[in-house]
Symmetry: C2
Subunit: 416 residues, 2 copies
């Protein structure tokens, strides 16, 4: 059945609307928030009162008027607490400490040995990265309101986390519980594609567009998708696996098991394969680490290497075709590119993709189509995960505490 | 910016919710409608009063109680008026007359010569099909509240209709205005993929699922997509052009200009091409009409023709791969097949597709994945267009009439 919103959902949604308005507008009056969100002034007033009493908002300024009481200009109180966003990849864990206005304060990073990915090893790496980001200063650890952790795999809020990376053997791991034991703070876990989508919606093109795809190009590739202002999650939270849609039926073997996936052409291994097809002895192929390979390609392109120019041409052709599919299927007007391949090779890929894209898209979807490198600052995965954790913190505000909720009574067995 | 709902939108949405509840539940009390829609009983009471005064609902029964006033059981009053749904294809126009409970009353069909598709010719064909459906009996024509017309192309509510079929040379044609002159009834025009999606949402799997793709297989192929209860339209109303996403980079030439599109393998011409690759002299290829070709394939498969068995095998392989992309990208749990290729060949395609689909889909999206032939009765395009026209009629109810609206004043020039 169509899931219907309860009044609790609507109340939470209105809370996020108020907060997003303040992220976008900066310090604002209740009237400005109501106008921006199109919530009623009564609803805004109620939520603002709640936020003020919880310390999430503060009165940033009083605006005098010729008659009547001055307007209060409200702002998020960054000092209400801290949020940590964590990006877990196959080779590293990167954690960022944010204030609750989502301004980054400090970072921590831990390198993972990609050949040793037991649960205990990864959980320990996450805890160490969070500790490194939080540091030992001035009781910061006690002020943390929530931690958002992105895991590179299929994350199902109910069933746990499954990671299908080559060296990971995780199936339905209850990572939230494992982490909550190590961190003793509420932990929210999600998939990195959802995190990059949320950070783009809150801090990137979401400020000018309500439908977008954030295309991540790195070891793996995928797309975070928002349509009409809503993040697309899918029935099992697996939406966005654009990297495992087809570019070439029965083409190159992909690590997911399927043949011909986009990732087998646009993931780093795919780009290496393309280069080997052009010149299997090219020196860039001798780089043992993926990131160094991509950097070597960028350096060689800048130096005018003709073999790498051909590699860039082929890669742009694959990318234009694969982005064309996203636009053709969903008529999405805004595509942003993120991930380190995007950053390193944008100069060569983006102009070629823009030139070829019209060949892959129906004319009606072309007029306002924009492709650009994402302008979300910092690590968009960590930022998006912090935004999710903040949403969850707001969702918990004002809810009855577990002790006061009549759950225990319902849990007692019926007498027989 | 994120489009925000005005109270007008919310009011209209609540109206459709009440109506959809009555479509799903049959005659219901206000309490049952409120429970089903999760609207407040006050909102339901207000809307029901409005609908009763407009004659859209009637009191179908009174239910006695031991104390208090009897409950009124409400139903859509089918006799409030008529709605026409029209399916315009390259070779025919099919029109169905419905009562406003969307029960079909009568049909009309006009054959189009696919080599003569001037605007005047097509408009005349649509008018004749509507007249044939409405008939001459008992003033039916005067009772029509709206007409919904699906056009085979890119339909932009603002810019008009562009059709890119081989023999159509339509660009931004204002078909609504042309038709309104011929029919003198409010006309709503949309794309057939949106119509099949809406009919599936209202009368098909929408009753058990809130996310689905309705895959149409005929001359052209495409998908109507609904996610979390919302029809996906895209920025230019072009979402769903799955037929022009890639199956094979740089593969078969498609009529859209791109190479390797799904339609070049699964549209009727694509299936003919596949058969010619296996046996260019196969007798089925001598059928001049597409529909007869598909019927000949179905007949031959039933008779055990081994060449056609190989054709079915390849076609199922293409279909499984292309449906796999829809599931992988959007994590959609429900796919229904519609269109005459689906109907004619389902017996051979559906079991093979179900068997192969796990090879094309990430494990997390598989557990509840369902693929079946659509059970929406009749012509789903005409039904969906009638549902859109009904929505538009409901949207007009209770709005100020143009004469009473203060538009004329705003249009006067400022004095200079
Ligand atoms: Zn793959
Ligand atoms: Zn095409």
């Amino acid at each position: 059945m169509v899931p219907r919103q309860t009044s609790r959902d609507l109340r939470n949604e209105s809370r996020f609307e108020v907060l997003r308005a303040l992220f976008e507008l900066g310090p604002s009056t209740r009237q400005e928030i109501a106008r921006h969100t199109r919530l009623s002034t009564a609803t805004v007033a109620t939520l603002v009162t709640e936020f003020l009493s919880e310390g999430v908002l503060r009165i940033a300024a009083l605006e005098r008027r010729t008659v009547g009481r001055p307007y209060e200009r409200l702002a998020i109180d960054p000092d209400r607490g801290r949020i940590v966003g964590v990006d877990v990849a196959e080779t590293y864990v990167a954690a960022t400490l944010f204030d609750i206005a989502l301004t980054p304060i400090s970072h921590g990073e831990v390198t993972l040995d990609e050949h040793e990915n037991s649960q205990a090893y990864v959980v320990d790496g996450i805890v160490r990265a969070v500790e490194a980001a939080v540091g030992t200063g001035a009781g910061e650890a006690d002020r943390i309101l929530g931690v958002g952790v992105s895991m590179p795999g299929q994350v199902s809020p109910g069933a746990g986390v499954s990671v299908f990376a080559p060296n990971w053997d995780w199936h339905e791991v209850k990572i939230e519980e494992l982490l909550a034991q190590g961190l003793r703070i509420p932990v929210y876990v999600d998939n990195p594609l959802k995190a990059v989508a949320l950070s783009e919606m809150w801090f990137g093109v979401g400020r000018v567009a309500d439908s977008m795809a954030v295309v991540n190009l790195g070891t793996g590739v995928g797309a975070g998708i928002a349509i009409d202002g809503a993040l697309i999650r899918g029935a099992n939270n697996n939406a966005g696996e654009w990297g495992h849609t087809l570019l070439q039926l029965d083409g190159r073997q992909c690590r997911c098991g399927r043949r011909g996936c986009v990732e087998a052409y646009l993931g780093v291994h795919g780009i290496e394969t393309s280069l080997a097809e052009i010149d299997k002895d090219h020196p860039a192929l001798r780089q043992p680490l993926q990131r160094d390979f991509i950097d070597a390609v960028a350096t060689g392109l800048a130096a005018g290497d003709p073999v790498l120019a051909e590699l860039a041409r082929r890669t742009a052709h694959y990318l234009a075709a694969a982005l064309g599919d996203l636009v053709t299927l969903l008529d999405i007007p805004y595509i942003t590119l993120t991930g380190w391949t995007s950053t390193a090779l944008a100069e060569w890929l983006v102009p070629a993709v823009r030139a070829e894209l019209p060949d892959h898209v129906l004319p009606g979807s072309l007029p306002d189509l924009t492709v650009e490198v994402s302008r979300v600052p910092g690590n968009p995965v960590a930022l998006g995960m912090a935004a999710f954790a903040l949403e969850h913190f707001l969702g918990r505000l004002g809810l009855p505490s577990p002790a006061s909720a009549p759950i225990a009574r319902r849990r007692t067995r019926p007498q027989s």
